[in-house]
Structure formats: C-alpha cells, structure tokens
Amino acid sequence: MNEYPIGALAQIPKGEGRNFEVEGVKVAVFHTQRGEIFATQPDCPHRKGPLADGLVGESTVVCPLHDRSYDLKSGKELGADCVLKTYRVRTAPDGTIMLAL
C-alpha cells in the first residue's frame, strides 16, 4: 500500500466532500465540521449518486440522489447492507491530505 499526498486540506471546505483523482483512481474525500477526514469510493452503490455532493454530519454522509446514509468510518450503510469501499486517509502536520491506496 502506498501513501500519496493529494493536496492541502483547505481544498475541501469543512462539512463537505470533494472528488480527487490519484493515480487513475477516483476517491471521495470528506472533511467534517469537527476536522476529521474520511475517504470512500465516489459513487453510491445504489444508483451511482455522487457521494461527495451529499450532506455530511458527524461521520455520516447522505447520498444526494435518494438519501441512503453511510457511515464514513466503516463504509456501512445505516440500517441496511450496502458497503462503501473506504480508504485510509490522514492529514500530515503541514496540512497535506495523505491517502493510502
């Protein structure tokens, strides 16, 4: 597994998500109001809704198309069985987002 710097944390406003492309892989990265960051697959397993455009609260993201909710930590859908692929991600001391692929 490799860790890639993908840009400054300031690229993602607090409470929102953005899609990044790293080495040909598309990843949605979320920056919560509490300052935590999470990374998941970009498309909702239901009908490919863009998860980065979803509403985020604590560590939950709600898909903008049909409101399915996922826990960003585990990738698990709340109250059902879908699972998102999650990636390890952290912020380096200089504020760079480091994503493990």
């Binding site: 710097p5 993602i12 409470g15 899609n19 598309k26 979803g54 985020v56 604590e58 903008p64």
Partner: protein, 819 residues
C-alpha cells in the same frame, strides 16, 4: 434443554417467513435452524420481480432477508443448494452435492415453478428451454428477460393472466413490440368476468400491448433460437423472445419421493403438517390444504403463523382454515383489484354493477346473504381497501349498496381506521396488520418511512402505501401527549418551530453549526437536519445569516438541480414566461457552445438547459448573462402568467405586468417548501393561478382575487380565496405577508396546500388580512428585509463561495519526481 434441529427446505417467501415467525415466538431457544435454498441469495420479495422487469425498482431493493440476517439469527444457510432427497426413516435431507443434514422437525417450503406447456420446439434436446424462451419466476429469469429484451424488437408472452400481463407491461418499457397470446376467451379469467376482461384488454392495447385471445400455440419456431410462434389456426407470429407465463406447478416431487401424500401438492392437515408424518410440515405454494393450493402470498403469511404457533408450542391448537383470495394487478397505468368469485352462481346472489367502458371504469360486486363473496374494481379502486377488508372478514354490508362503489361523503377515513380491528391486514404483500403498525409506532418509529422500513408494510406491490401512511398517522396522532417529537421542527432538537425560533433569537444563533452546538443533544450534527435549519436561519436573520454551505443540499451549494447522473439543470429567470428574440438567440448560442444535451420548456414557463456538468456551470451562467431562476430550491420559484389585458380579448387585468413585479420582488426568497405563483388576467385561469401556492386572478375594475394553498402536483387542491384587493400593490403586499407568515410557521417541506388546511383559512385571514394579532406590520417588515438580502447566486461564477465549489474532480497534486 438441548435444542431440536429444525431444517427448512426452500428459502423463499414462505420458508423465510415461517422461520421469522418461529423466531418471534422465542424459537431461537428451542431450535437450531438450518435452511436450504436453491437460489444463491437470501430471501427476496418475489412479487417485486414485476417491478424489476419494468425497471421501476432495482434488484438490491427487493431483498427481505439479506445474508446478514441469517448470521445474526444463528441460522445456517446453505444457499445455492438444492435438496434432492428426504430420508424420513433416518430423519435426514440430502443435497445435490451430497451434503447430509439431520433434522428433528422438517419444513418443506419449496414453492412452485413456472409451468412450461410441452409445446413443440419450446425445449432443446437436453431438456433446457430454447434460447430466447423464459419462465418468469426468479431473479435469474428476470435477468435473462431484461438482457434479451434489450436486444429484441418483438417479444411474445404466452398467458394473459396476472403474471403474463405484468411481464408484458415490463417488456414495453424496454422498447419491444409486445404481443400477449392467450388461450382463453378473455384476459385474467381467474380474477375477471368477460366484461371486465374486455375493458382490461382495451386498456392494455391503449398502452401498446397487442392482445390475441383464443389462440392456442402449437409450436415455437426457430432452430437454435426463438424466431416465432405457430398457432392452431394456422397463423404465425414472428418474435425474437418469448416469456411463458402459463401457470405454475408446485415443487412437490421431493414429497412424492419421500412417500408423502401428494395430489396437486403435498397434502397437509390444519396444523400445516403432512398428513403422513408428524415431524414434517409444509407451507407455501407447495402445500395443499383442504383441496386448495394457493398461488398468492397472503395465504402463506397465515400458514407461517399457524406452523410457528404449533411447532414452538406457543399455541398447539392453532389451526389454518384456508384463505380468501384478493389481489391487485401491478401494471402501471391499470388499476385493478379483484376478490373472490367473478360471477353470481346462485339465484339469490345479488350483483351490484357499474360500468363506464370509455373511461376504463368497471365495478362489480357479488353479494350473498348480505355479505361480499366477490368483486372487481377497475379504473377506480378508491374503495378497494374497504371492500377487501369487508370481504376478508366476511363482515355484513351496509344496506345502501351505492356507497360500496362510490364515496358519497360517507364516514370519514378516520372513522374507518378507528373501527378497523387490530388484526386487519393493512399490507397484504408483507402480511402487516394494523396492530403491528401500532406496536411499531409505540416503539418509537414516528414516521411512515420508519414504520415501513421496520415492518416492511407498503414495501410489497406498494398499493397500500397511502393506507399505511394513514394508519401510522392515526397511531402517531393518538400518541400525541406522550410523544411530542412528531412536532419538532428537526428531529435532533426537541423544540417545536416557535420555541426553536425563540431559542435561536435569544441565543443569537446565526449559523447551523452554532445551532447544533447550542441546542442539539450532545452538540451532535444530524446531516438531514442541516437544510431545514439553514432555511429557518435565512428566514430569521436574512442578510445576517452566516451561510455555511455544508449545511445546504447540493442544489443550494451550486445553484442548479442535480440530475440522476450527477449533472445539473440550469433554468434562468423568465418572469411570467416572457422572453424576447434576443434572449432566445442567446440561450440557443449557449446551448450550442456548451453542447447542452437537452433544452426543454418547463412546466413553469421557462427554459431548462439540462445535463450540464458542475464544472461547466459558471461558464454557462457567464454566457447566458441572465439571473438565476431558483428552479432548484425550497424557495420562491416562479410566477407564471397568461397574456392578460393588453392582448387577450377577455383580459381584465395586467397579469403579465403583475407577474414581472411579483418575480422582481420575491425572487430567491427561501421558504420551508417550494412557493409557486401565478397571475391570471381573468377567471378563465389560463395560467392556473387558482392551483398555485399563491395566485392572483383579475376580476375587473382593477380588482384581484388572491388564492392561497392551491396545488396541482402530487396533490391537487383548488386554492382558497384569501381576499379580494383593488390594486396591484395590494396584491404584492398581501401575498408577501402571507408568504412571510407561512415561512415563519410552516413545518419543513410543508407546502401551502397542507399548511393552509392545518392552520385554517379563517385563522390565516384573521392574521394576514384583518391583522387580528397585530403582527401584520412586523410580517411586512421581515419580508422587506428578506427580499433586500437576496442576491443572484449565479454571480458566484466569478467569486466562488467555497474552495473547489464547482469542481467535479480534483487531480491530486503529486510532488514532481516522486515515484
């Protein structure tokens, strides 16, 4: 106590339901449960295959018991495992790959399969179906049909029964020409009489399905693949695929081989036990009880209960006494419910009938000794819920027969639910009773959605959804005192809207994050509460509101409406539907320059540029150089208009001018739900002002009638006249005052059509027109402040509000030279 081993063969709707019922009776402590299922999944809702075929639902949405459920309940599931033998002497079952499992109690729930009549050429030499021929029973079948339909021009369906018609309707959605071949003299003979069949045929044909009656298929043509059908009358029909829906056959062979009595299916006693073996139970379509074999789900819910009561000892006396059959056709565009017999058989039977074939309406009831023994409702099935319940319970009918067919302002819905006994089945597909819904509401589920998810009510064919909603509302209403949460503005803050407003004002909370920190439990954020809070703060603080974009739905972050593929639609302002040649030319140029996939006139009298990717929106706005039309938000949307006094020979007022003024004043105002307005130059109402949230209709002499609470969307309601005023300025003033009152008092997403009914027209008129509360001036001022604070969000094209606001994909900034 050591546990007994319960083995279940068949992991379909009956088998899994029976196990659920056993678990519900504490069966986990009594039994070690093993299940075998031929299909390689957990249990799914077979009924919904029709929706999968028509593309209305997604495969992932129909699972009832996903694989986790088995693990969580300690059930050993052998999926994709076909049981081939039952050794009753050794108390063991054996699968195709020779797994042997022992049982103390055995449940057979193998259901049935599609019956394929032995038509010449339907099978290949190895006994499998010819390529292009399908049964319609499993997810597998469905996948095959959909894949084939995509390639096909012309599809045939043999069988004009319930399933055949559902298949035919589904195939239409894939763009095939569809032919239904039916042997009998009319469609759906099991459920309809000839008159009903004829009306149904007309309905199907109108939809585009070709129906051939009294046709006997003699051969399936084509060497390796279906190429057509040949009929007894010598004619042929070419087609490139064929769905055979000619009935079902119970999977009872296992029983025969094990020496159980099998007639049409495995014969059981009133405890759902094989008549030959005390340790073998049978439920579902493979069971024959009192000479009857069922092919619908409702009977198997009852059977599963009796089985569970008996085997767990919860009620050793439990007896199954048979079921009465009622069903609805799940064909989009046809409303059809049927129950019991289709024709009177005894001289004393009474038939109550109404038919209006032109409109596809047909209603027929057959009454014996004051009780309903059969019924057909087509085209208008309003009364179906009531009649099906009456039929099922064998309740005496009211003397006044007419009210059985039509609503004549009889007892209100509420009384009906009140009187409904707790064990009345509300959702037949999933066997959910009124009592069960009540228990679910009592356990804390306050929303219809929550209750539906927990009980699965309404998740079958969906036709009972509105009844489920009503029953939930009825229970939730009854629990008002104990549970105030249904009245909270957002679920995570225990305050009603007025109390929440007071708290926000007192604590000077100007951002959504500040509200969470100060008022939510533990300061926790709830994602779905963010947009309603943002909307409320905007209403309360207008220009002073601290706009945190993460609190807003994506539409409000980027000022367009998100589409199913993640692109957006762009609707520029066009007040009253008035545009100019120059503007149209510019729009056309923009559409060309940016390759906009679709240009569409909306129902709101403006132009929609559909399918624009997020990162292209700023450029499109720049080139359009028109103000935003706010077509995406919970906000003021548009004001439609008709031609009016300047041009129309009937015009009594300047509807166009007024629409432009209204839009100029209220554009962009946030509100709890959409606000759609219209003005009409006379009561001919060409712009539909009487069915808008707010409408103004000119009545002459400079006078306007103001309508509020109108709707013509998912709900249709004629607006109420709030008052008549005598100038355009007065229209603006009163509309604004009403809208502000609505903004401050409506629940989140409560449209005016509900708000006006909830608050009451008299009360609204008292506040807004007569100023009974003395707040009219305050409402007017608040609206002024709000309108002054609105700005055109499309200006963010030049000054984005957040980092990467319109980026669809950000390339990672990998350091150069890194490996």
């Amino acid at each position: 106590m050591t546990k007994q081993r319960l083995v279940v063969i068949g992991n379909g709707m009956a088998g899994a339901r029976a196990v659920e019922e056993v678990l519900a009776r504490g069966g986990a402590d009594l039994f070690e449960i093993t299940m075998f299922g031929d299909e390689p999944y957990g249990n799914y809702n077979r009924i919904l295959l029709s929706n999968i075929l028509s593309g209305v639902q997604d495969k992932s949405e129909i699972f009832l018991n996903p694989l986790d459920w088995y693990a969580e309940n300690n059930i050993t599931l052998h999926s994709g495992a076909r049981v081939t033998d039952i050794d009753r002497a050794a108390h063991a079952v054996k699968t195709a790959n020779s797994t042997v499992v022992h049982y103390d109690k055995l449940l057979i729930a193998t259901g049935s399969r599609a019956f394929i009549p032995p038509i010449q050429g339907v099978f290949q030499a190895d006994g499998s179906l010819k390529s292009g021929v399908f049964g319609f029973r499993t997810i597998n079948d469905c996948d095959g049909i959909v894949a084939a339909a995509k390639q096909s021009r012309k599809a045939a369906v043999i069988g004009g029964g319930l399933l055949g018609l559902e298949a035919a309707r589904g195939l239409l959605n894939h763009g095939c020409e569809v032919h239904v071949i039916h042997l009998g003299p009319h469609l759906m003979e099991m459920q309809l009489d000839s008159q009903g069949g004829a009306i149904l045929k007309a309905g199907m044909e109108k939809m585009g399905v070709h129906v051939h009656l009294k046709m006997s298929t003699t051969a399936v043509l084509g060497k390796d693949k279906v190429e057509g059908l040949a009929f007894k009358d010598g004619t042929t029909l070419d087609c490139d695929m064929l769905v055979v829906s000619a009935g079902i056959r119970p999977n009872a062979e296992l029983g025969t081989r094990a020496g159980l009595t099998v007639e049409r299916a495995i014969v059981v006693d009133n405890h759902m036990r094989s008549v030959d073996d005390m340790n073998v139970y049978v439920v579902g379509e493979c069971a024959q009880h009192r000479g009857k074999v069922y092919g619908l789900v409702a009977p198997l819910w009852d059977q599963a209960k009796v089985f569970a009561d008996h085997i767990t000892g919860a009620n050793p006396q439990a007896q199954y006494v048979g079921s009465k059959l009622a069903t609805k056709l799940k064909v989009m565009g046809v409303e059809l419910a049927s129950m019991g017999v289709t024709d009177a058989t005894e001289e004393s039977d009474e038939t109550v009938q109404f038919s209006e074939p032109k409109r596809g309406i047909y209603k027929k009831l057959i009454v014996r000794e004051g009780r309903l023994i059969g019924g057909i409702l087509m085209g208008d099935i309003e009364k179906a819920a009531f009649l099906m319940q009456t039929f099922d319970r064998d309740s005496p009918l009211p003397e006044e027969r007419l009210s059985l067919l039509f609503d004549l302002g009889g007892p209100s819905q509420k009384v009906t639910i009140d009187e409904m006994p707790a064990d009345t089945q509300v959702c037949n597909c999933n066997g959910v009773t009124k009592g069960k819904i009540g228990a679910c509401v009592a356990s804390g589920k306050k929303t219809a959605k929550g209750v539906m998810e927990a009980t699965r009510a309404g998740m079958g064919c969906g036709s009972c959804k509105s009844l489920v909603n009503e029953v939930v509302a009825w229970f939730a209403g009854g629990a008002l005192e104990e549970d105030p949460s249904v009245h909270y503005y957002v679920p995570c803050i225990p305050l009603k809207k007025p109390e929440l407003i007071t708290a926000i004002r007192e604590q000077n909370l100007k951002s959504v994050s500040a509200v969470f920190k100060a008022l939510a439990f533990d300061g926790r954020e709830d994602p779905l509460s963010k947009p309603p809070l943002a909307s409320l703060l905007l209403t309360l603080w207008a220009g002073e509101y601290e706009d945190e974009r993460d609190a807003r739905f994506i539409n409000d972050r980027v000022h367009g409406n998100i589409q199913k593929d993640g692109t957006f639609s762009i609707v520029p302002e066009m007040p009253g539907g008035i545009t100019s040649a120059a503007e149209l030319r510019r729009i056309a140029d923009v559409a060309d320059k940016h390759n906009v996939p679709l240009v569409k006139l909306t129902g709101g009298q403006r132009i929609d540029l559909v399918g624009v990717p997020k990162d292209q929106m700023p450029a499109v706005w720049r080139d359009l150089d028109m103000p935003a039309g706010w077509a995406w938000g919970k906000s003021y949307r548009t004001c439609k208009s008709c031609i009016g006094i300047d041009y129309c020979r009937f015009g009594l007022g300047d509807s166009m001018g007024l629409a432009v003024k209204i839009e100029g004043k209220f554009r962009g105002i946030d509100s709890p739900a959409k606000l759609k307005l219209a003005t009409a130059g006379c009561p001919r109402n060409c712009s539909e002002a009487m069915v808008k949230d707010v409408g103004a209709v000119a009545i002459g002499d400079g006078k306007w009638e103001i309508y509020i609470g109108g709707a013509a969307g998912a709900h249709v309601r004629k607006g109420d006249v709030l008052c008549t005023v005598d100038s355009e300025d007065a229209v603006l003033k009163l509309c604004g005052r009403f809208m502000q009152f609505y903004r401050e008092n409506a629940k989140w997403k409560e449209r005016t059509y509900t708000f006006v009914e909830r608050i009451g027209l008299e009360r609204i008129r008292a506040v807004v027109v007569d100023d009974a509360d003395g707040i009219a001036a305050a409402l007017d001022d608040a609206m002024e402040v709000s309108t002054a604070a609105v700005y055109d969000p499309w200006k963010e094209r030049d000054a984005p509000k957040t980092a990467n606001q319109f980026a669809t994909l950000i390339p990672a900034e990998l350091p150069v030279g890194d490996d």
